[in-house]
Structure formats: C-alpha cells, structure tokens
Amino acid sequence: MRINPRFTNKFVQLGLNFQAFFTVGILVIIVAIICFKGFPYVNFEFIFAYPEDMGRLGGIFPSIAGTILLALLSILLATPLGVGTAIFLTEYTKESVFTKIIRFGVESLAGIPSILYGLFGFIFFVIKLKMGWSLLAGVLTITIMILPTIIRTSEEAIKAVPRNLRIVSYSLSATKWETVTKVVLPSAIPGILTGIMLSVGRAVGETAAVIFTMGSSLRLPTSLMDSGRTMAVHFYILAREGISMEKAYGTALVLVVSILLINVVAYYLMNKAISKYS
C-alpha cells in the first residue's frame, strides 16, 4: 500500500518540530529548575564572600576564582598545542602511517572517561612529579583531557578552508607559513573557536579529574602550587555530603549562568571573526 506523500510530509514535519522542541525543552527545564532552586540564595555576598563552615555559610568566591583559573590556564595551554597539532596534521604532512597513528591516538584520548585522566594526573603529576594537589596538576590534567577536542575540531575547520585560497596565496608569493597564518587560520577561526568553547565547557563542568589533581581545598589558590576547588567540585561536595543543598543550588546557578555567558561571548567573537573575513 502506498502512503500518501502529502501525509508523510506533514507527519515528518510534525515529528521534526517535536524533536527540536524536545531538545530545547529539556534545556529550559534544567535551567528553570536550577534557577528556581538556586535564585533565592544567590546575592552579592554569595558571589564575593569566602565560604565558612565547610561551605554551609558564606559565599563561593574561591571556587569561582578556581574555576576561572583552571579553565583559562588549561585553554591557554591546550589551544596552541592543539591548533599546532592540527596545522601539522593538515598542512605539513602527507597522509601516512605516522599521521594515522596520531589520529588514532587523538581519537582514543577523546573517548577516555574523565576519571581515568584524573587517575593518571594523580599518579603522574601529583605523586610522581611531586606537584601535590595543585592548580598546576589540575591544569596539566585538564589540558591533556581537552586536547583531543581542540585538535579534532581545529583539524576539521582547517580542512574545510577551500584549497583554492591556499593556491591563490602561494601564487601571490606567500610561503607555506604565511599562507597558514594569513589565509588558512583566519578562515578557520569560527571552527577553532567552537572547539575551544566545547573545551571550556568540559573544563568548567569537570569534577572527577579535578578532585584527583587539583584537590578540594576551600582556600583561594594564589599560586600554581596551591590546591583549590572549582564550582563543579564545590557543588558536588556540598550535595554529595549533604552539607547544604541551598548553597549547592546557588553554586549550580552561578555555574550555569557562567557557561551561558561564555557561550554568548564566544558567539559574539565568532560572528566578529566571520564578518571580518568574508
């Protein structure tokens, strides 16, 4: 029996609409619950004060600072490394067994659960290299963890730059490096930024790998060798150990709002880059 194509069309359209609303709906529900539960506890003091009594009282300023430090330093370390690897893989080598091994390695790294990174960071950075629970150990671990994402997205973005643009650049007497920096990378910036944003999200939201390496000290980290805790870790400990659900939801709200803010800023930067190079 033949199904009426007009009916199929309507049906598919309805189905796709439903799926789109479903995705947005889940996001809205999660954010709404966190806002609803956390909003009463978030105020100026909560954001700028130090925690007291294990976090039962006071604010979360050190965790906010810890989160920003961890994410920022990891990104600053992972971006040049990752983008460099991507440039090497796409522009400076031909496909070979060697590049296949690198890609295989990158893909395997991307699939490893974060707690294994935490364990590795604990054994290698914290114990073996005697860094102790520290911002440095956390940053290095998170850097390794987000590197595959940055490499993969940058590689895809660089590959998507039309070959014609490279040819034109060479024909205008550019060297390979000049072509990469002046033509390829500017055109690939939106894609590379996407990878960086995904990585920021992972760094900000990570708990397992962070507890193992950066520790969970409530103090404000003032040097690379200080332990500290991120908002996600703070939230986890507050909720897991039943210290204060109110403060936990407050922390969650600040966390969610910061991620939304980061995304908005990233979109702004991306649009700026796109309009400059098109």
């Binding site: 014609n164 643009l165 040819i167 034109v168 650049s169 060479y170 024909s171 205008l172 007497s173 550019a174 060297t175 000049e178 002046k182 033509v183 500017p186 055109s187 400059k276 190079y277 098109s278």
Partner: protein, 253 residues
C-alpha cells in the same frame, strides 16, 4: 625581427604517473608581448603554465623533465627559489578567487608579504593596481567592502590587480575570461593590451577569437604536443598544419 626571449622552454616533458600531459615541448616566449596558448582541453597548455610559475609543485605525483629558462636562468633547478619566482610571475586563474577580506586587503596581500608596511605606499600600490586592471572607477568608493560581494567580472579584474600589485615581469592567465560576460572580457583584454608595454603575458584560452584579437604570438597544442607556433597573424591566416587550421576554424576542440 629581433626580440628578447623572456621565457625559453626547452624539451619540457610533464607526466602524472604514466599519463604524459606534455611531450617534449620547446617554445620561446618573447619579452613584452602577449603570447596565446590555445588547444582543446587535455592539450597540456594549463600544465605548461603551472610549470612556469612552479605551481605544479603543489600537484601530487608530477614528474618534470627539461628546462624552463627565464632571463637565462633555469627555474627548474633544484636551488631555484619558487617563492621569489612567484613574485616575478603573476597568475590569474580561470575562476576568480578573491581572498575572504576587503577589496583593499586583497590587493595589499602580496605587497604586505614583501614587507611593505607604509600606508601611503600601500595605498598607492592598491590604486595603481586597480587602475591598471580597469577596476578603480567601479570600486574606489568602497575599498573596504568584502571582495566576495563583487560581480564575477569585477572579481577577475580584482585578481589581475592583485597580481599587478607585486610588480610582476610576467603574467600567466589561465582562461581568465571563460566565465565572464563580453563587457568584462573586453575590459580585461583592454587591460592586457596596455600591460604588455612592461609585462610579458601568456594567455591560455580556448577562445580562438580572443587569441586572434589580442595576442602577438600564438601556440597551438594538441594532446600534449606543440603543433604549431608563430606570429598570430601567420597562424590565423596561413597556418602550416592542417590540425591548426581545423582547430581555428572550429572543426574540433
């Protein structure tokens, strides 16, 4: 007629694995003339110019034998600097390819690579290039507009201007008008006729009428071989080879 030879191509053979695209071709291109390379697709004319500007370096599996001398120097020598060579030899491709940036930045791209930072100097180079490519009047008020917003014909003249900004001695044009309307084509032809006072130009084209209109010398290629080469007048009035005559009369191609 005594003229300086600018480019001397000697027994040039180009092959991609087993596929021979040029079979021992020898041509002398004279200084400050327009030389047309014509022939049906697959005749090897595009491969020939990609050897002259060494853009063939970016094609995988190309095998090259023979010599190409520019001002007496063999550019296929291992030690020859291809980057410097491409400053001396401008290239305009069949499809106009503006860089995704403003009109001004497109033209300034080459000079900036050569280390020119002075704004007055850059502005002069940009204006000069656009004027010589007959595009200045159309874009002088919107130099900061994205080059991608220009029409196809304007984009191709932009590509010519961008090449001129490097002050080349030679310009290679690979079917530059294949996608253009007659008015844009005429503008490019006018520009080329002016430019040949100082620049040696090689024009690859499938359009025999265009070759007849603006070139001084022409070469006819067929399946990787040079069939006939001489003054355009001679080739188009009394060709020596039957193949040339047939091609010019549009019997194949």
């Amino acid at each position: 007629m005594s003229m300086n030879v600018k480019i001397a191509i000697k027994k040039l053979r180009v092959a991609f694995s087993k596929n021979e695209v040029l079979k021992s071709v020898s041509v002398d291109v004279y200084k400050n003339t327009i030389t047309g390379f014509m022939g049906p697709s697959g005749s090897g004319k595009s491969s020939l110019i990609s050897v002259i500007n060494r853009m063939i370096d970016f094609e995988e599996g190309a095998h090259i034998e023979g010599e190409v001398h520019i001002d007496g120097q063999n550019i296929l020598d291992g030690g020859h600097d291809a980057v410097e060579l491409r400053r001396r030899i401008g290239t305009v491709f069949a499809v106009p390819i503006p860089l995704p940036r403003s009109i001004y930045e497109n033209i300034a791209y080459g000079p900036r690579l050569r280390g020119i930072r002075d704004r007055i100097m850059l502005h002069y180079i940009v204006e000069d290039g656009l004027k010589k490519a007959f595009l200045w009047d159309e874009v002088k008020d919107r130099l900061s507009m994205s080059a991608l917003k220009l029409s196809g014909g304007q984009q191709q003249r932009l590509c010519l201007a961008r090449t001129l900004a490097l002050k080349p001695e030679i310009i290679l044009l690979d079917e530059p008008c294949s996608g253009l309307d007659p008015i844009s084509t005429a503008k490019i032809e006018d520009a080329l006729s002016e430019l040949k006072k100082d620049i040696t130009i090689i024009l690859v084209s499938n359009n025999t009428k265009q070759i007849a209109r603006i070139t001084d010398f022409s070469a006819f290629f067929y399946l990787g071989e040079l069939i006939e080469y001489g003054t355009t007048e001679k080739l188009f009035t009394t060709p020596s080879m039957k193949k040339t005559e047939d091609y010019i009369q549009g019997k194949f191609g």
